[in-house]
């Protein structure tokens, strides 16, 4: 597969979401996620360790919620995931792509869909289209994450959001 060969770069509000909820801030302008610890102290916290984590989780949430979002360039903020990191997480990235293809509504019969999901080689043009498609889901998922956590002011709020998140994606929940 020729996907995930280059560094990944997010811009605008999606880059801001990545920065806000990740420990690994980077960029010129640090976007903090500050909440009260319910004991009178305000703390800068993070939900995800690295940008690759929020990328993968955002991508899966996008796939599960069937939500895509276009590239945003409303601000000059950017967030990059370096090739070295991508290489390290390649198995997870491939798995994310496979879920996207297998779960996607399409006219394709099961054999074709499986072949597409596990295809070993792609042309540059083809892989660019597929990666764009995947990152649309990632952006959609990032927006959902932000919608869940953006109102959090306290530890208690965050815990309630965690409850909501696990509730939403627990296997016994059939609200889909």
């Amino acid at each position: 597969m020729a996907m995930f060969k280059k560094q990944i770069r997010f811009t605008g509000k999606h880059a801001e979401i990545m920065q806000k909820y990740c420990k690994d801030k980077g960029g010129d302008q640090e976007i903090k996620f500050t909440v009260s610890n319910n004991s009178g102290l305000n703390k800068d916290i993070y939900i995800f360790e690295n940008r690759i984590d929020i990328y993968l989780i955002g991508g899966m949430i996008g796939v599960l919620e069937k939500r895509k979002a276009e590239i945003d360039r409303s601000t000059s903020t950017y967030a990059t995931i370096m090739v070295e990191i991508i290489d390290k997480y390649r198995n997870h990235l491939n798995r994310l792509y496979q879920h996207m293809i297998l779960a996607e509504d399409s006219e394709l019969d099961p054999d074709t869909r499986i072949k597409k999901a596990f295809k070993v080689q792609m042309s540059d043009e083809e892989s660019e289209i597929e990666q764009k498609n995947l990152e649309d889901y990632v952006r959609g998922g990032l927006e959902i994450i932000d919608e869940i956590f953006c109102e959090c002011k306290t530890y208690e709020d965050i815990c309630n959001c965690m409850f909501e998140l696990t509730e939403r994606y627990q296997l016994s929940n059939n609200d889909d």
């Binding site: 319910n38 879920h99 099961p110 596990f118 815990c159 409850f163």
Partner: protein, 666 residues
């Protein structure tokens, strides 16, 4: 000593107050009414400060806080109390002042420490008392150590505790004149170097000069040694007495603040629990974030969800890629080589279009890099195992989030309770720190007592040595006839010494008996129950039930303890008035003189009938009573004492920093 007047200027919460006390023998009582915190205790402490310059306030700044708040840097203001009293026909006016200024660091500081000025009027002549002699003059009227038997502020010295005081022997012997006999005994004590027999012994002429010098040197050495120990004992006893007073004061504070003790313990426990809960909450939050923030754990939940939601296992089943159709270990490149060679490993010919060729072309779809059966099969088995993991991970996240929320709720609840407790104990005493101080004082006292025991144990040996040396000196002097008269005198002074010892013991016993009779009579007039008073060898009073058993649990609801103490004070004063020991040995000038009883009257735990009885009985035995009471307590007593009240005042609180004393109609 009868108190006529007191004027306070800028003193604590009294900016300008004048109180004239009743000195009418038929109307002995002055009542000052005031609610709690209005300043009743301040007025009692003002007497003590004015007369003895002893500041009994916790906050040592005496200047009115309104005045101190507006005091400019470099300027001075003075807190002042004037007390006018009469003693043995002489009028005294004592004024004590303390001057304050504001320092450049904006603190109120003492610019001039408490100092007194005084005047006395003797036979219509006004004589100033020099500043150096004021303390001496007041001490001659009422010794500082006795003041606490006449001035009860209810806080540092409360009437509730008086009959249990440790130093009662000193007080009683002073008040009742036994001190004179004690002084007499000391004067004839052969073990003292400055006593009569010692002085006489120095005049003896010895036949053996060298031996006499040696004996006298030894005598001097031992008398000095004895005196050193006695001085040490006196110092330690004074220190122990001071420690006892501190203990008594601290225990009174503890008793008065018993209700806060539980609150203060609860407060400490809650603060600790809040601290622990906060720590646990933060740790649980961190653990929850750790589960989420590494991508793999939370990602497993999402993979599993996707696998189930989109029936991906079913997708595999619907496809032609079955797990058993995979050619494991053979790849497309190897098959291409066989086709190119035109012959299989088994020897069969491979020719474009024949069966072998078609079979190999079909097989290439199920081997690397197109082994989709294997790929989808691996995918399905990996995601199936994620299903189990996902449930556990979800549970762990929820569990940690639950801990955080529970801790937050607990902290909220603790903080609400803590706030209520803090409001309740605001401004109250820290009982825990007082208890630590008590423990510290007890430790110091224990140490001092062991030093005291050690010093006391030395005295009999030294006295024995002194007696032996005296005996030797006497013996060696007997041979010389010129010594006969002196030896007779020494013998005579020894007899006086023995007589004084006997007299002292007898006097103490008599006083104890009379004090018990006196206190019992008063107690019976005041107490409506079935008990009697016993005075022990240390002059401490206690009430026993009539069957003779000591009642350890004083009946608090009827205020038995209060009645015992009032009886004791009244009995002590009455005994002093009666000039108990009218023999030649008791010539204390103050016996029979009047003294005031100034008290913040503790009637809070005393029933109505006892309040009436106390108020009715006290004036019979006291010449002047200045009583600070709450109006509700006065209302119980009014019927019994109406005829004896000469002045009635009430403290009116204008603000927290300004109170005045207004006279009311009787």
């Amino acid at each position: 000593m009868l108190i006529r007047k007191m004027i306070l200027n800028n003193f604590r919460n009294f900016k300008n107050t004048e109180i004239n006390f009743s000195c009418d023998p038929k109307k002995k009582i002055t009542i000052i009414l005031g609610q709690n915190t209005y300043g009743k205790t301040t007025l009692v402490k003002a007497f003590i400060w004015c007369l003895y310059k002893i500041n009994l306030f916790e906050d040592k700044i005496l200047l009115n806080s309104d005045i101190s708040d507006y005091l400019l840097v470099g300027k001075e203001e003075t807190a002042k109390v004037m007390v006018e009293f009469e003693h043995k026909g002489v009028s005294y006016r004592i004024t004590t002042k303390e001057t304050y200024s504001r320092s450049s660091s904006d603190n109120i500081v003492v610019a001039k420490k408490a100092y007194s000025t005084g005047l006395k009027v003797v036979e219509q002549n006004t004589i100033p008392i020099s500043e150096n002699h004021i303390d001496e003059e007041i001490e001659s009227i009422l010794k500082p150590e006795l003041k606490e038997y006449f001035f009860f502020d209810g806080e540092t010295n409360s009437i509730e505790q008086v009959s249990a005081k440790k130093n009662l022997t000193v007080a009683v012997t002073n008040i009742l004149g036994i001190s004179t006999i004690e002084a007499f005994k000391e004067y004839y004590d052969p073990h003292r170097s400055d006593s009569v027999p010692s002085a006489l012994r120095k005049d003896l002429i010895s036949s053996d000069e060298l031996n006499a010098i040696d004996l006298n040197n030894q005598l001097e050495k031992y008398t000095q040694q004895r005196q050193t120990y006695l001085d040490e004992i006196e110092t330690i006893e004074r220190e122990i007495n001071e420690l006892d007073n501190q203990l008594e004061e601290k225990n009174n504070l503890l008793d008065a603040n018993k209700d806060v003790e539980k609150d203060q313990n609860d407060k400490k426990r809650l603060e600790k629990e809040i601290e622990t809960a906060k720590f646990d909450k933060d740790k649980a939050f961190d653990r929850m974030i750790q589960i989420v923030n590494g991508s793999s754990a939370f990602l497993k939940i999402l993979f599993a969800k996707s696998f189930v939601k989109y029936n991906l296992k079913e997708l595999m089943e619907k496809s032609s890629f079955k797990s058993n159709s995979s050619y494991k270990g053979i790849n497309e490149e190897a098959v291409n080589e066989l086709i190119k060679a035109g012959r299989c490993i088994c020897g069969a010919e491979i020719k474009n279009g024949n069966d072998a060729y078609r079979h190999l072309m079909e097989a290439k779809q199920h081997m690397e890099p197109h082994d989709y059966s294997k790929y989808i099969s691996d995918f399905v088995s990996a995601e199936a195992s994620n299903i189990y993991n996902a449930e556990t991970i979800c549970e762990n996240i929820r569990s940690e989030a639950g801990i955080v929320n529970n801790k937050i709720e607990a902290i909220d609840e603790y903080e609400t309770r803590l706030k209520t407790i803090r409001e309740r104990i605001e401004g109250r005493l820290d009982v825990g720190s007082i208890q630590s101080e008590i423990n510290n004082i007890m430790y110091q006292k224990g140490h001092q007592q062991s030093v005291l025991e050690n010093s006391k144990s030395k005295i009999p040996d030294i006295e024995k040595k002194i007696d032996d040396i005296n005996e030797k000196i006497t013996k060696s002097s007997e041979a010389n006839e010129e010594n006969a008269f002196i030896l007779k005198c020494i013998e005579y002074s020894n007899s006086i010494y023995q007589l004084a010892i006997t007299q002292l013991e007898q006097s103490k016993m008599e006083i104890r008996e009379k004090l018990q009779d006196e206190v019992s009579t008063i107690f019976k007039a005041m107490y409506h129950g079935n008990r009697e008073i016993i005075i022990d060898e240390n002059f401490r009073a206690s009430a026993i039930v009539t069957d003779g058993n000591q009642d350890k649990n004083l009946d608090k609801s009827t205020g038995l303890g209060t009645v015992v103490n009032y009886s004791f004070v009244a009995g002590l004063m009455n005994l002093a008035k009666q000039s108990l020991l009218k023999n030649e040995l008791t010539n204390d000038d103050n016996i029979g003189e009047s003294y005031p009883l100034v008290m913040d009257a503790p009637f809070s735990n005393t029933d109505d009938e006892h309040i009436k009885n106390i108020c009715k009985t006290l004036p019979i035995f006291c010449d002047q009573i200045i009583m600070f009471v709450m109006r509700k307590d006065y209302n119980y007593a009014i019927e019994s004492i109406r005829e004896q009240v000469g002045k009635l005042y009430r403290i009116q609180k204008e603000s927290e920093t300004d109170a005045i004393v207004c006279e009311e109609d009787l």
